[in-house]
């Protein structure tokens, strides 16, 4: 008697129906017939509540012994319909929602969103605003990469570096507290600038942080990079060739670990990145170890960028003075008639960009984070499409996991560093 499990079930109950996700998992070479119970493939359901999947990612893995034959990622457990919500809210109202996209680097999302709206309404922001945005975007990159590295190392079994990374990350959250008054859901940018100017105290805090950061990072690196267990478990794991990486639409550290030096900060410079001096680290291994090193070196480059910004940041206004598009200051709203009218119009009817379409993207910590707007001239976007890097990067999970061991799956997920808030939208 040689039957697959499904055929056996079908004989007992002809009405049984297979779900589509199980059909997708089955391939011709997988539906092997078996006589011995130890000789068959097993379907393992990882997640959505699994600590190694970093959120609510569900993986259906079919195993032959300990080897992964095929893997199907299943998304949608954190789907909140942000694209639909955006159509019903004004351009300003959507800013707090961007915090909840990639919740590990909310500042970068704020910057990307505000920049996309400004491109749509053709608004230029002043120099100081641009420098502030670069500083917070790079702080967000450090914040996100620290957790990516820490969680990757913790999944391998080293808990101490994770705690040290969280300790540094905590300092950045405290800095956000001084800059904008919130630690986690920042909502700091506004259309035409930022909510409030960075105080001298805030700038001094950032300077203190980056002065100490490299030493603290090196302390963590000493613990990790000479550890044989870490190297053996990362080297050559999750390999994906350069051609496949491009074919699968990867961006960010995953693509740079495959030797493609694509970074929007250099290729399509936005804000003031063309005035700053920094490198794009690339590696050729395209495995988990290469991705780890790309992230570590990006941390060092980010510190370099922030240091230059702190030296070059000019005095002046942080917001554009186009009162019909930019929210006026609250003290003026309460005392001046003109500002009160503008505030009322912007809050109730929105900024009303001209009818048209626009796409703008930044290099966030995970890759290209873009917003595609279609405007019909009213206060709400007609359509907003979020190009979320985590969503696109997750597509590479299945080819990376092919023929790896079940214990390597957590390492590969850690090296891809998906954030489900962003992937599920």
């Amino acid at each position: 008697m040689s039957n697959t499990v499904y055929q056996d079930l079908k004989e007992k109950d002809p009405n049984i129906k297979k779900t589509k996700i199980l059909e997708a998992l089955e391939t011709e070479d997988l539906s092997v017939s078996f006589t011995d119970a130890l000789d068959n493939e097993m379907v393992l359901n990882m997640g959505p509540q699994h600590p190694a999947t970093h959120g609510v990612l569900r993986l259906l893995v079919s195993l032959d012994g300990e080897t992964v034959m095929k893997c199907i990622p299943e998304l949608g457990y954190l789907h909140r319909g942000y694209e639909k919500l955006a159509e019903a809210s004004t351009y300003h109202e959507f800013i707090p929602h961007t915090d909840r996209l990639d919740y590990l680097s909310p500042m970068a999302n704020n910057v990307a969103y505000a920049q996309a709206v400004e491109k749509l309404i053709h608004l230029e922001i002043p120099e100081r605003g641009k420098f502030i945005r670069v500083i917070i975007a790079e702080l967000a990159r450090i914040q996100s990469h620290l957790l990516a590295i820490g969680a990757l190392v913790m999944d391998i079994g080293a808990v101490t570096p994770f705690l040290w990374a969280i300790r540094e990350r905590e300092k950045i959250l405290d800095l956000y507290d001084t800059i904008c008054g919130a630690r986690f859901t920042t909502s700091y940018t506004r259309i035409g600038g930022v909510a409030q100017d960075i105080s001298d105290e805030g700038l001094a805090g950032i300077k203190n942080f980056i002065d100490e950061f490299i030493a603290n990072l090196n302390e963590m690196r000493d613990l990790v990079e000479r550890n044989k267990i870490f190297i053996v478990r990362c080297e050559g794991i999750g390999y994906l060739s350069k051609e496949d990486c491009i074919e699968l639409g990867l961006t960010g550290p995953l693509l740079r670990a495959a030797g493609v030096s694509r970074d929007l900060r250099k290729d399509d410079p936005y804000l003031v990145y063309d005035k700053l001096d920094f490198n794009i680290p690339t590696y050729n291994q395209s495995d988990c170890l290469g991705r780890y090193y790309v992230r570590v070196e990006e941390l060092i480059e980010s510190v370099k960028i922030i240091r230059q910004c702190l030296e070059k940041i000019p005095q002046g206004p942080h917001n554009t003075l186009q009162t019909k598009k930019v929210l006026p200051k609250k003290d003026r709203v309460y005392t001046k008639m003109e500002e009160l009218i503008h505030d009322f119009m912007i809050i109730n009817f929105g900024v009303n960009p001209p009818a048209g379409e626009s796409y703008s993207a930044i290099e966030s910590s995970k890759g290209e984070l873009g917003f595609y707007f279609i405007s019909d001239g009213s206060g709400n976007p007609f359509r907003l499409k979020i190009r979320a890097p985590s969503f696109c990067n997750l597509q590479a999970l299945a080819p990376m996991m092919k023929n790896c061991m079940i214990s390597d799956t957590v390492v590969i997920i850690g090296s891809v560093d998906p954030v489900m808030g962003e992937a599920d939208k």
Partner: protein, 160 residues
């Protein structure tokens, strides 16, 4: 994109019926859905173009009588550092087009998302399932006629 590069692109695609527009500084090409596969093969494989990175696919519901749905493809050439949009107009009823996943593998999930959210069908797609919503869900949430608050009882609650 410079004038010179755009003329090069036009000369490569002169055999096809293409309408050139502009999306806030980025060239956008409206093409017929019948010769999409051939045009994409030219865009990807031609040595002077090499649009090898498919960044995103965007589905749009214009909510008009004719050509209600549209698909935009966001293409990047890494080598020449250029970006273009490919735009395809689709019918108002049962929109259907060829899948681009045979040319760029990354189109797989992007098109699954469009199928889920807008109900656009892609022929020759390797694995056309819903991306976010449950398998047995009947509606397409991003269509303009779907209410913002959702449809009551469209997702059965447990123990019901």
């Amino acid at each position: 994109m410079t004038e010179e590069k755009l003329n090069l692109l036009k000369s490569k695609l002169q055999n096809y019926n293409v309408e050139y527009t502009d999306t806030n500084g980025t060239p956008a090409l409206y093409i017929n859905k019948d010769d999409i596969i051939e045009i994409c093969k030219v865009l990807k494989n031609d040595n002077d173009l090499k649009f090898n990175l498919l960044v995103d696919a965007i589905s749009v519901d214009r909510f008009v009588k004719k050509n209600r749905f549209e698909m935009f493809y966001n293409l990047v050439s890494i080598e020449y550092n250029q970006r273009i949009f490919l735009k395809i107009k689709l019918e108002s009823h049962d929109p259907e087009m060829q899948s681009l996943s045979q040319i760029w593998k990354s189109a797989n999930w992007y098109e699954r998302e469009a199928f889920d959210m807008m109900g656009i069908k892609f022929t020759n797609h390797p694995d056309l399932r819903r991306m976010y919503m449950p398998e047995n869900y009947e509606y397409n949430p991003l269509k303009k006629d779907f209410p913002l608050m959702g449809i009551p009882d469209s997702i059965p609650l447990p123990n019901k």
